[in-house]
């Protein structure tokens, strides 16, 4: 690996241009691309307990149960499949994140870098639920789905890992990078009925 690779281009580079797309002066939704490092962690056979202990030790993170997400100081995790989690990290912790996870879990887990394989969007605002409901079959009502909940689903026929991050409500939407432009097109079309503002990537 080179010592310091140049800044990569996101799959939404040039697609998600910052700006307001308001209806009647209102833009109650915000859309922001996030660029965390992502690593898929799959426990080896009968090693889920060891993996969980290693992640707890290294990142102070309790790997979440099905349908849930968890966050700690340096990393967060979403349950995506039996004995499998999508881990993410920002800032300094993002550097060679997959390598850091692998060194933590050793032969108890298989780790796969997914940083370039996914695009991450944060959709926030009161109409977010209604906008997502035009393409997402998951019940996002606050009685059912609250911050900390996650789902592996399809939205508008595109594989999507969905996590609620706050009660605004804000949802993180993680889609395959080759489908990011198609997903962005669908999402902004759905949001156009309410008005939205695209913020600079965080």
């Amino acid at each position: 690996m080179p010592a310091s690779a140049p800044e990569p281009l996101s799959a939404l580079h040039g697609v998600a241009a910052p700006g307001r797309h308001a209806v009647g002066g209102e833009a109650p939704l915000t859309l922001r691309e996030r660029r965390p490092s992502l690593a898929m962690l799959l426990a080896r056979k009968a090693r889920a307990r060891d993996v969980a202990a290693a992640v707890q030790r290294r990142f102070g993170l309790a790997l979440p149960a099905p349908g849930r997400a968890a966050a700690a100081q340096d990393a967060s995790a979403i349950w995506t499949q039996p004995d499998g989690w999508l881990l993410s990290a920002d800032g300094a912790a993002a550097r060679d994140f997959a390598g850091a996870v692998k060194s933590a879990v050793g032969d108890a887990g298989s780790v796969v870098d997914q940083t370039h394989g996914k695009a991450v969007l944060l959709l926030t605002g009161a109409p977010a639920r209604r906008v997502l409901a035009t393409g997402c079959r998951i019940d996002l009502h606050p009685r059912v789905f609250a911050p900390g909940r996650s789902a592996v689903t399809q939205i508008a026929h595109i594989d999507c890992i969905l996590r609620q991050v706050d009660a605004a409500p804000g949802y993180e939407l993680i889609v395959p990078s080759s489908l990011a432009e198609a997903f962005y097109g669908w999402l902004t079309h759905a949001a156009s009925a309410y008005g939205y503002e695209v913020l600079a990537p965080a």
Partner: protein, 980 residues
């Protein structure tokens, strides 16, 4: 003549709306439907019937309307077959009648009515049988023109349609007294409630009596105060599916000329409900009697609705024909509104409503029937008689109200697979035991009376909420019990006399048609339905379906309860295709996948082609090549054979395979062995399906003892991963192996050509490319332009080649660095077309050969089948037919006349004109190395043909081309170049 009354109704007399029907201008009021507005203007001929082109009028006041279907709007927004009673009037509405030519009043095809005895049930099946070739070209267009409904717009729909996935604890369908009470009871218990009402006003039957208005308004107000209640008017629930999934269409902007910006015209609600309350009410049924389709024949309840809700007198002089007490309400209401009621003709011998009828001075004829209707374009009179036909007398009238009793609206309950039960008290079918989490309430289960329906609705709503986990809250006031006598009905279906007595008005099915069907052997209700088309129109026979079943029962000498109704299926009401398609039209039909280099290809002016969900560059036209695709493709392919080219191959499926048993797993998955593959090397692998047919191929590399990197073909990527997960989870659950799709994480590019090493050497850091240090099938990590890359020395073109993979975010930088390094060598980016050309020249099989019918031997890949150890597909690949040595095998084909072109898809024959196919030409391209077209084909007894000539026949184009059978590797059969 029908007309607007001076007072009353729920129409806004201050809000006049202009509209047109068949080009004539009219005026209506806000609150009108198209049906009520036309009646207010004295219009009663509104359409022609489907088969006989008989004049038709408005029969109902709801979505069950069989006759009054119109085309709405114009241009791209034209829509067909909408029932007038559900069209909310708006200013500027344009409507046209259907199925008439040249005009509604004078219709040439009404001659069909005169020759009707030659057009019996099953007529089309009997008449248009021969010759078979005439069906598509002659008969069907003819039938469609003469028996058509409206015509659809041909231009793309300019409007937006939205899909919405909704969830609730209790879904209530219908907002009459039952539905409002159910929704309120459930919502006040704390349940999330959705209430759907097809009308633009909530209230159902409550809208027909001002005495109920205070209660209706109070209930709606209470419901709207519940934050978890969603109240949808203009929303028709059309389908009830498994798992309590229901479909509904909300007509968001159908009552406006053009939808507002960003608003959909219609919204498709897909509702997942824990509990469902069907408060769909009841539908009045007709009585079959001669000429019961004349304009001016109307169901009794509809006449009441037009009178009370829309303040329209449906006629000047009415006759009521009934078998039940409820119809008397209409007769009395008409009388009390000053409309003359010439007679009430009741089939029964006695009724509790006799006294009030006589008090009003109405001529009450008990034990009597209407024998027939006079007037062709509209009712002028009716003949009444005793049930035995005695004492026939003609009464002058312009309105015949008919009530054959009421059927609970069981369409949705039936779709939910609830079995129906005969209820003799109402002479109709009512829902039996529910099979899903659903209950019917109120009139939908045979109750009558506002008070008893409201009580039943409240109980159903509370019970549904309780079943969804919400304890009942305090109650609310119900409407007072009135002195309404329970309806008394006598099962009575048909007056048999000369003339057409319709049981299905929309499809022009008569009682005689039903009897004919039975005589011809179609005794079962499902057979009779299909033979006669009873209940098969867009109204699904809501007004006459049971009458048809009763006529069939009488003909069979059985009880209608034993005959039953045909199964109801979606759509309970017609809905538009636009609403179903939603956002998924045009380029949004399916999501498009783009590689990380997509924008570079766009900037370079690439022409794209669809490969599965992907857009890939087909070729890159250069100045002067804009109109000659072949020039680009051949130039790009030549660059690879003579210098060097670069191709985006990011779409190939890539799967990361890890685990202690990863090598064992791959040994079982592939027909060849991977456990012997050293770390840092790649190997070509072949996979079979369980049935022994070739599934997929690709190159898999070993990155560590317990870590492999697999590639698949572009189109099979998802299927291969599924295949692997299936085997890991169910067949060999003991193996420790994990998979992760990494197609999107890695961009990859193929650098191929004699100058590939020189080019790459200039760009790469940290990898010695010397042939000894990095041989064919080597794998190594390095950097290009400061970006991490993984380099595989593999080749698809047959040239010296390297595949460079880099994390997708670095793709453009690496791609441009490689192009820059190759500039001095004449590098060219090449697209999928050149890639295909090169692989055909080289004899590599791909999609056209991996058809799902070909075995490894067929493709000349038998060397890939290991002798020891099991693998998926091994056993079934040994089946005699698959092992037959005479099966078509892969061969190369070249035209004998070097200028001739080959066309993929042609059959291989021994002589021109031969009908015996020896195989086929699967792929063909012009070669840049051999100066002629080359192809790959599959040929039976291929060995005996090697070096000989045969013919490619393409009968569709009347082409026959003589070809020589060669080795499949047209280029470098020794495979020396890849190792150079």
């Amino acid at each position: 003549m029908s007309r607007r009354l001076a007072g009353g109704g729920r129409v806004d007399r201050g809000a006049r709306l202009r509209f047109s029907f068949d080009g004539d201008a009219y005026e209506g009021l806000r609150g009108d439907t198209l049906a009520s507005a036309l009646m207010a203007n004295g219009v009663r001929l509104v359409g022609r019937s489907f088969k006989y082109h008989r004049p038709r009028g408005i029969v109902t006041a709801g979505p069950e309307e069989p006759n009054a279907l119109v085309e709405l709007r114009g241009g791209a927004r034209r829509e067909a077959n909408t029932p007038m009673p559900v069209i909310e009037l708006f200013d500027g509405l344009e409507a046209r009648s259907q199925n008439r030519w040249p005009s509604l009043a004078f219709d040439l095809l009404s001659a069909n009515d005169l020759i009707a005895r030659f057009l019996p049930a099953g007529f089309y099946y009997k008449t248009f049988m021969w010759p078979a070739s005439f069906w598509e070209k002659v008969y069907e267009p003819l039938i469609r023109r003469s028996a058509g409904l409206g015509s659809a717009a041909r231009a793309p729909d300019p409007d937006r349609y939205e899909t919405l996935h909704a969830h609730c604890d209790v879904l209530v369908v219908g907002s009459g007294a039952t539905g409002l009470a159910a929704a309120r009871a459930a919502a006040e218990a704390g349940a999330r409630v959705i209430l759907c009402e097809q009308d633009f006003e909530l209230g159902g039957g409550l809208l027909l009596d001002p005495a109920h208005e205070a209660w209706r308004a109070g209930m709606i107000g209470a419901l709207l105060r519940q934050s978890e209640a969603t109240v949808l008017s203009r929303t028709s629930v059309f389908g009830y599916y498994d798992g309590n999934v229901l479909g509904a269409i909300e007509r968001v902007a159908d009552h406006l000329p053009v939808p507002p910006d960003h608003a959909p015209r219609q919204r498709f609600w897909m509702i997942r409900a824990r509990e469902v309350v069907l408060a769909t009410g009841a539908l009045e049924r007709l009585i079959a009697l001669p000429d019961n389709d004349r304009p001016g024949v109307m169901l009794a309840g509809a006449a009441l609705a037009y009178l009370r809700r829309f303040a329209v007198a449906p006629g000047e002089r009415a006759v009521m024909f009934t078998n039940n007490d409820e119809a008397y309400d209409t007769a009395f209401a008409l009388h009390d509104a000053g409309i003359e009621v010439a007679a009430i003709v009741d089939v029964r011998a006695a009724t509790a409503r006799a006294e009030p009828a006589r008090q009003r001075g109405i001529d009450l004829r008990l034990g009597s029937v209407v024998l027939g209707v006079h007037g062709r374009r509209g009712v002028r009179g009716v003949t009444v008689a005793a049930r035995d036909g005695a004492n026939a007398k003609t009464l002058s009238a312009d309105l015949l109200c008919v009530s054959g009793g009421h059927n609970p609206a069981i369409q949705l309950a039936s779709q939910s697979r609830t079995a129906m039960r005969w209820d003799s008290a109402i002479a109709g079918f009512v829902p039996g035991e529910s099979t899903q989490r659903q209950r019917s309430a109120g009139a939908a289960r045979g109750l009558t009376g506002i008070a008893s329906c409201a009580r039943d609705g409240a109980a159903a709503g509370a019970a549904a909420a309780a079943d969804a986990g919400f304890a009942a809250a305090s109650g609310f006031d119900l409407p007072p019990d009135s002195a309404e006598p329970g309806t008394q009905v006598e099962a009575f279906w048909e007056v048999r006399s000369a003339g057409k007595a319709f049981v299905d008005l929309q499809n022009d099915v008569t009682a005689d048609d039903i009897r004919l069907a039975r005589r011809e052997g179609y005794e079962h209700i499902e057979h009779a339905k299909r033979y006669t088309t009873l209940s098969m129109a867009t109204d699904q026979g809501k007004t006459g379906g049971l009458v048809g079943a009763a006529v069939l029962a009488a003909a069979r000498g059985e009880d209608v309860a034993a005959v039953g109704l045909p199964t109801y299926r979606p759509f309970a009401v017609p809905i538009s295709f636009g609403a179903i398609a939603g956002h998924a039209v045009g380029k949004d039909f399916a999501p498009i996948r783009r590689t990380a280099l997509h924008r570079w290809h766009e900037r370079r002016g690439a022409r794209f082609m669809e490969v599965g969900p992907w857009l890939r560059p087909a070729y890159y036209p250069q100045p002067g090549e804009e109109n000659d695709a072949w020039a680009s493709v051949l130039r790009e392919a030549r660059a690879v054979r003579q210098a060097v080219g670069l191709c985006d191959v990011s779409t190939l499926g890539k799967i990361d395979v890890q685990g202690r048993d990863a090598a064992v797993f791959l040994d079982r998955l592939y027909t060849n062995t991977f456990s012997t593959l050293p770390v840092g090397r790649a190997r070509y692998g072949l996979m079979l399906r369980e049935d022994g047919i070739v599934f997929d191929d690709g190159t898999t590399s070993r990155l560590a003892d317990d870590h492999f990197f697999m590639t698949t073909t572009t189109v099979n990527a998802a299927r291969v991963l599924e295949h692997m997960e299936y085997h890991a989870q169910t067949v060999w659950p003991d193996l420790d192996v994990q998979f992760c799709a990494v197609t999107d994480h890695w961009a990859s590019m193929s650098l191929a050509g004699p100058q590939a090493r020189a080019t790459l050497a200039k760009a790469v850091e940290g990898l010695d490319l010397d042939n000894a240090a990095f041989p064919f099938m080597g794998v190594g990590d390095a950097a290009i332009a400061g970006c991490p890359v993984r380099i595989f020395r593999i080749s698809f073109s047959g040239e010296l080649a390297y595949e460079v993979a880099t994390p997708a975010g670095h793709a453009e930088r690496v791609w441009e660095a490689v192009l820059a390094a190759g500039r001095a060598h004449g590098i060219a980016p090449y697209g999928v077309e050149a890639l295909g050309l090169l692989r055909i020249e080289k004899g590599h099989v791909a999609g056209p050969e991996l058809t799902g019918h070909t075995t490894a031997r067929d493709l000349g890949l038998e060397r890939m089948l290991k002798k020891r150890g099991d693998y998926v597909g091994r056993v079934l690949a040994e089946r005699p037919a698959l092992a037959d040595p005479d099966r078509p095998r892969l061969v190369g084909l070249r035209p004998v006349d070097r200028r001739a072109r080959l066309r993929a898809g042609g059959h291989l024959v021994a002589a021109p004109g031969s009908a015996e196919s020896l195989g086929w030409l699967a792929s063909a391209m012009p070669s840049v190395e051999l100066d002629c077209w080359v192809g790959l084909g599959l040929l039976a007894r291929a060995e005996s043909w090697r070096g000989k000539c045969l013919f490619v026949a393409f009968p569709l184009n009347d082409e026959t081309t003589e070809v020589e059978v060669t080795h499949p590797h047209h280029v470098d059969p020794e495979n020396a170049r890849v190792r150079a």
